[in-house]
């Protein structure tokens, strides 16, 4: 899983400009899918047809986009002005190396004399080493996207840190599930969706679920933890297993789905924990509330320092999500 994860983390896909990473993901999932396509907004939709005629439709979704920037202006002296896409804050972004979608590298810095705590990106720029507007225009074009340079380092054991873990890790989990289920004659039809534009307000997953009309839907994403100094008390920790989402800022998961995931985890001895996230939303809400609606839930990988360049997770938690997700696809219905 790590090799694949590393590969997809190193291909850029800032929200709305996901094409390169989607192409890679399409190639990786094709061997396990009956059908792979891309929709109008760029969502990658792969399908494994169910073996049973009376089978249900299950939609699994992880977003492939990442937070980043777009070039808005090139200054006379070659500096690049940018605007953020997604929930970026200057204090965890400044003085980092950035990569442009066209390949150019640069560093992101604030205008001189700025108070970093109360700074907006209008007062920041990217230095690409160019000295004139002309030179810069040859290296970067207006409208091009960029992101803090990708990176993944192994810490102790199965713990890793880097970016963009949010949510390429979810995509890697989808690939793992697809591999696991391929050839298993799952009675239910399973759709794997790598969604676009989650970081700007979950704009991609709604249209995808409108098209798929799932009975059940699961999102795979990262979630915050309460296991670091000064954190809001939250019973969710790195290393304690797959987090079964009960609620986040945008959704209350279907009670039946939550119960089913808990039951399966206990039966299969998959390590899990409960997740109630106070802020933030996921594609779960859009899958739940689009069109005819679906019974929706989510499995999360507890991750520290989300949206920074050092998003930290434990691979075992991700594996637990993949195992539990696969088990759910085989039998999504809760028997009472």
């Amino acid at each position: 899983m790590v090799q694949e994860l590393k590969k997809i983390m190193h291909i850029q896909g800032v929200s709305g400009r996901e094409k390169p990473v989607m192409t890679e993901l399409a190639g990786l999932i094709r061997p396990y899918a009956d059908e792979v396509r891309t929709d109008a907004l760029g969502n990658l939709i792969a399908c494994q047809k169910g073996a049973s005629k009376s089978g249900k439709t299950v939609m699994l979704c992880a977003h492939a986009d990442e937070i980043g920037f777009i070039v808005t202006f090139i200054e006379k002296n070659g500096w690049i002005r940018i605007a953020p896409i997604g929930g970026l804050r200057p204090w965890n972004t400044l003085y980092r190396e950035v990569a442009f979608s066209g390949g150019t590298r640069g560093v992101i810095v604030p205008d001189v004399g700025q108070d970093v705590d109360n700074l907006s990106f209008e007062k920041c720029y990217v230095d690409i080493g160019a000295s004139t507007e002309k030179e810069a225009e040859r290296m970067v074009r207006i409208g091009e996207t960029l992101a803090v340079a990708p990176n993944l380092v192994r810490l102790r054991g199965t713990r890793y840190a880097g970016r963009p873990v949010d949510d390429r890790l979810g995509c890697a989990i989808l690939l793992e599930i697809a591999r696991n289920l391929s050839g298993k004659a799952c009675p239910h039809t399973v759709y794997y969706v790598c969604s676009v534009q989650e970081e700007v307000g979950c704009r991609g997953s709604g249209p995808a679920s409108f098209d798929i009309r799932p009975d059940y839907a699961l999102a795979f994403d990262v979630t915050g933890t309460g296991d670091v100094p000064g954190a809001t008390p939250m019973a969710c920790s790195v290393g304690k297993g797959a987090a079964v989402k009960i609620k986040d800022g945008s959704v209350i998961c279907h009670t039946e789905v939550v119960r089913r995931l808990r039951t399966l985890a206990s039966e299969r001895k998959i390590k899990y924990q409960d997740e109630i996230l106070l802020h933030g939303g996921t594609d779960t809400s859009m899958m739940q509330g689009t069109g005819m609606g679906s019974k929706a839930g989510a499995l999360s990988v507890p991750t520290r320092y989300i949206h920074s360049a050092v998003e930290l997770f434990d691979l075992k938690d991700a594996q637990a999500c993949a195992d539990l997700g696969a088990a759910f696809c085989m039998a999504p219905e809760q028997e009472d």
Binding site: G16, K19, R37, D39, A40, T72, E75, G143, G206
Partner: protein, 354 residues
């Protein structure tokens, strides 16, 4: 033919979000015999269908009919209390002329507030709040019927004026988005006149309620389910003396503006490229918006149904949502011509999903 009469007529028509009827009537009148191709959907949008050779392909072009305005929320001692409809800066309200539509009749008024002489030191340094303003439509005798009532709608009263060097600039209310409506009417007329057969069905949509964010366009798009949508709009620019280069957004007089990203939409990359190429091919100026701000109907359209690829083509406009919005006349013609060429050059198979 380069003529601004249509734009003038439309801008001077009354149509705040929620009461677009006079604009609808005007549009139908201007479309003349073409109006038989127009239907009104359940949300009150007007949709004109131009049938092409392949009915399985659909393109939607839209502009919103509504403008920012007011609603009367109560009458106190003959003065009308009001709320704004859509985002209006309270600083452009004080002292303005307005029109209230009451029982089919337009009633003139001015927005009053405490005279500067009566204001305290603190009040003078701050913008007056909307709840401290009122609309004065004249005085009435005791027992006399007041020609206004709670729930009446209003707009700014502001003439269409051409000014500047060779009258290149225009000042009017409601340029946002009657300009888009005017371009769409011209487009419909042109297609009909030339008997153009497009290789797809074209839906020309005049939508409601963009300014309040509820957006009739949501409904239009979910009914049509187009492959591609082009939204005609106006976008706030800051090309004023003293503004830093990177904060000017776009320049008036330099052609229509293509948005890359705004608060509600990330626009389709391929469509942006296509629009720029079309401009270049036909020698029509077009520019890219160098700022991230605002939002429009595309925010709803692109998420409707199974998803829609969207492009926004906007007029660079100064002082948006005020009674004196200013644009450059040339930009109107550039947008009109670019849209027309884009629709004729469009190879829809280039935008197929895989």
């Amino acid at each position: 033919m380069d003529n601004l009469d249509l734009l003038k007529e439309l801008c001077e028509t009354f149509g705040p979000s929620g009461w677009e009827d006079p604009v609808k009537e005007k549009i139908l009148e201007e479309l003349g015999p073409l109006s038989r191709l127009v239907r009104e959907d359940r949300a009150g949008n007007l949709i004109l269908t131009v049938s092409g050779t392949d009915h399985s392909r659909k393109v939607m072009v839209s502009a919103h009919m509504d403008e920012v305005g007011f609603m009367v929320s109560g009458i106190e001692d003959g003065y009308l209390k009001f709320r704004t409809v859509g985002g209006i800066d309270p600083r452009v309200l004080c002292g303005r002329r307005v029109q209230i539509l009451h029982d089919g009749r337009y009633v003139n008024g001015v927005i009053g507030s405490k005279a500067v002489h009566h204001q305290t030191e603190e009040e003078r340094s701050q913008a007056t709040k909307v709840k401290d303003m009122y609309i004065d439509i004249g005085s009435f005798e005791e027992g006399e019927d007041i020609p206004a009532a709670m729930c009446d709608y209003g707009t700014f009263l502001s003439e269409f004026v051409r000014f500047g060097e060779e009258d290149r600039m225009i000042k009017a209310k409601a340029i946002d988005d009657r300009l888009g409506c005017a371009i769409l009417i011209e487009l419909a007329r042109e297609l009909a006149k030339n008997h153009t057969m497009l290789p797809y069905d074209l839906y020309i949509c005049f939508t409601r309620c963009e300014e309040i964010g509820y957006s009739g366009a949501t409904v239009a798009a979910s009914v049509i389910q187009p492959d591609i949508a082009v939204v005609l709009e106006s976008t706030a620019v800051g090309d004023l003396a003293g503004t830093e280069d990177h904060a000017r957004v776009a320049e008036t007089g330099a052609g229509g503006v293509l948005s890359l990203v705004d608060r509600s939409t990330i626009y389709d990359e391929d469509l942006i490229r296509f629009a720029l190429a079309t401009g270049e091919k036909h020698g029509i100026p077009v520019q890219v918006k160098k700022w991230v701000s605002g939002g429009n109907d595309a925010g709803h359209i692109h998420k409707s149904g199974r998803g829609v690829r969207c492009l926004a083509l906007s007029a660079p406009a100064r002082y948006l949502h005020s009674p004196s919005t200013v644009i450059c006349a040339q930009d109107y013609f550039c947008m009109r011509d670019l849209l027309s060429h884009m629709l004729q050059d469009l190879q829809i198979s280039d935008f197929e999903t895989r």
